[in-house]
Symmetry: C2
């Protein structure tokens, strides 16, 4: 494996409220110098796949990047001082009104490694009880439940365009087949 490029400088080029653009000046091991742009985000997030007795619980949420409703899983930013596990349990209560007795950590998923440091921690949840917390959702999220046998159809569903949701579907299928 070749030597990693050396970061010579990181400059904030442009700043929004939540997102900012950084210019990263790099020196590659072959002496090439280049400045790449990347997005700095406001910290890590979680995604939770609730595996209920009836199937996978999904939510319909508006996505501003693509300007349409996306079918996906409970997700949200990790608050200051929270562990990923605590954030996962809180988001479940806020978005679908469920506490979970069993939470399994699956893996880290990046957004776009070539553009951003954005990280999302993926969990599977089981064994639920009703508990509602009020979150920061703009509108209540519509819910739908999908049978395990429908996962292959979901992989081709036109309302699922987030590769992290599609990956979560692949991984939960493997997990349930074990």
């Amino acid at each position: 494996m070749k030597q990693k490029p050396e970061i010579k400088s990181v400059t904030t080029i442009a700043k929004g409220r939540l997102l900012s653009i950084e210019g990263v000046e790099l020196l590659f091991s072959n002496d090439e110098t280049v400045t790449f742009e990347r997005i700095a985000t406001s910290g890590p997030a979680v995604m939770v796949v609730p595996v209920t007795e009836d199937g996978l619980l999904m939510v319909h949420e508006y996505a501003v990047g693509t300007d349409r409703y996306e079918l996906g899983f409970v997700k949200g930013r990790i608050d200051s001082g929270e562990s990923p596990e605590q954030a996962a349990l809180r988001e479940l209560k806020e978005e679908v009104g469920l506490g979970a007795k069993q939470l399994t950590y699956v893996r880290e998923m990046h957004g776009i490694p070539h553009y951003s440091d954005f990280v999302m921690h993926l969990f599977f949840a089981k064994e639920f009880y009703p508990e509602k917390l009020v979150g920061d959702e703009i509108e209540p999220l519509e819910q739908s439940v999908w049978k395990i046998e429908q996962i292959d159809d979901l992989l081709e569903h036109h309302q699922i365009n987030d590769p992290r949701v599609l990956l979560a579907l692949c991984l939960v299928k493997k997990w349930l087949e074990k």
Copy 2:
């Protein structure tokens, strides 16, 4: 399905060379108004999974978002005037020095639908012949070949963090099993 929020305005908040941040003012169907930020990128891209007789051909490329080398597939932006298919065939020649006689379109993959309009078109390629084009790579990309039976291991490989690469692995496995 509830009514989609109305976009009241889109403002460029900050602009880099390739990326920019937009503020999108939205009116939801429940009369809530909110401004979300999103990233505008410089157009769509392609990813190509080369399925050779020896296995899947992968490349090792530096990712500035996470500041490490990522194991992934041939990819790149679609040039002005190119179709996704033409871009896929060109990137194969530039990044791994191969022309392909067979190209199968798989699906669209978004980056992060909640943050960005970034779209990538996924292809599987087969039947190769040597043909090298010079691309804009900063350094030559190291290559490695992975057997089909190694796909499950690759899904847990620490150097694969791009959910689109992981999704491509899930989908090519399904495709090859058919």
